[in-house]
């Protein structure tokens, strides 16, 4: 039996009426262990203009590298207060911001460890289906051996790595088109 997959459609310009009050800007409530970070950035369109109506959803492992999900069967510590899901809207300047903890490493293909990363889904008017990307961390030796980053053309990898702009403050932008276009994934 195979049913036909439902087609994606854009979130449109008014998604905020639903997603604004279900935002999760603080992914790691107090008490969750791990290195505290704030990730902020801008969403920019093909003209370099800020995108004022984007939604970013993030998913990550906890500080021990464990996903709060039954498919992660490894014997690692779960943090009951940490789900790992974030949802933020961009504002009229195209700016988004969320706080979380740096995730631990999780296995990739053939059990090769991946570098710490967040998975990010991007939704907005003008996107008929969402985009998938990742955020990696600066000054992280493991980035060099990450099996997913390794598939990205070397000159584009930096679009997936956040920049440290302050103490615990990281900047990572979503650039939809052009020279510095963010790498998006197709699964």
């Amino acid at each position: 039996m195979s049913l036909l997959l439902t087609a994606a459609q854009t979130v449109g310009p008014f998604v905020a009426i639903s997603f604004e009050h279900t935002q999760v800007q603080d992914v790691a409530p107090p008490g969750v262990s791990g290195e505290r970070i704030v990730i902020q950035g801008r969403v920019l369109d093909g003209d370099g203009k800020p995108v004022e109506d984007a939604v970013l959803e993030t998913w990550q492992a906890n500080g021990h590298g464990k996903y709060s999900h039954p498919e992660d069967t490894r014997e690692k510590l779960l943090d009951p207060a940490f789900k790992g899901f974030g949802r933020v809207l961009s504002n009229r300047h195209g700016v988004f911001r969320f706080s979380t903890i740096k995730p631990g490493r999780v296995p990739g293909p053939n059990d090769v460890l991946q570098a710490p990363h967040l998975v990010v889904l991007v939704f907005m008017r003008g996107l008929l289906k969402h985009l998938v990307t990742r955020v990696y961390f600066p000054d992280e030796a493991a980035n060099r051996e990450d099996p997913v980053l390794g598939l990205v053309p070397a000159e584009r990898r930096s679009t997936l790595v956040a920049a440290r702009v302050g103490d615990g403050l990281l900047e990572w932008n979503v650039v939809l088109q052009g020279q510095n276009e963010t790498v998006f994934f197709d699964y």
Partner: protein
């Protein structure tokens, strides 16, 4: 840990392309460089799961969020969330948002010259049950104009956001109404290449769930990506 069984790639032609010129906003927002195709890892096959602690039962009734009843034609929206394999997805979070009966959204940037309804916000959430079923009570939204092209009108539609078992099943879509003459002119609806997949975005009148002398029901089933029984290459 063995590699996770990947979700099937979206069946061909069921999904719109990012760049679709008739929908003008895609021109500056669709990616222009090649997408990279990594294998699915534990990071992608997992995702947030939701439970009854996250959603209140009253969030499924969009007609009971204010002092009075909203204007418009009451409707029941029901359906099932299934995987391609036919397996129901239980505890899927389904979020909806929509315009009011006059075709106006309760949003600061909606400047359509149609009245707001003080008794209608236009969003709701529900979890699917053990058979993957969901049910909302709301009112039928109106069509509304937009500036994509001359005299452009969006057919009446309801937006849906679905969280299945993992990020690979994440889906945001819209459903439409049977017999709407605006559908063939709508670039969003027409962006779906496969005719059957496009037709599947139209809800069906559902006599069984229609409540006599109260509300008409529509049925809209949602099919998320599924997995083959064995890992590829295993």
């Amino acid at each position: 840990m063995t590699d996770p069984t990947p979700y099937r790639r979206p069946y061909r032609q069921t999904q719109p392309e990012y760049f679709y010129p008739p929908y003008r906003s895609t021109a500056k927002r669709a990616p222009t460089r090649p997408l990279v195709m990594p294998p699915q890892t534990i990071s992608e096959v997992t995702g947030p799961l939701f439970g009854h602690e996250d959603v209140k039962p009253e969030e499924a009734d969009l007609t009971a969020q204010h002092a009075g009843e909203p204007l418009g034609e009451r409707m029941i929206v029901t359906g099932r969330v299934l995987e391609e394999t036919g397996r129901p997805v239980c505890n899927a979070l389904v979020e909806i948002w929509q315009a009011n009966a006059a075709g106006r959204y309760r949003h600061a940037t909606d400047n359509h010259d149609a009245p707001l309804d003080p008794n209608f916000t236009g969003c709701g959430r529900v979890l699917t049950d053990g058979d993957g079923r969901y049910r909302f009570k709301t009112i039928k939204p109106g069509a509304y104009p937009w500036r994509n092209h001359y005299n452009a009108w969006r057919p009446a539609h309801v937006h849906l956001s679905i969280f299945g078992r993992g990020f690979m099943q994440r889906l945001v879509t819209q459903f439409y109404f049977p017999g709407d003459p605006l559908l063939p002119y709508d670039p969003m609806f027409m962006s779906v290449p496969d005719e059957r997949a496009r037709h599947n975005l139209i809800a069906e009148f559902d006599w069984e769930h229609t409540i006599p002398e109260h509300a008409i029901a529509y049925r809209f089933d949602i099919v998320l990506r599924g997995r083959d029984a064995t890992p590829m290459g295993a």
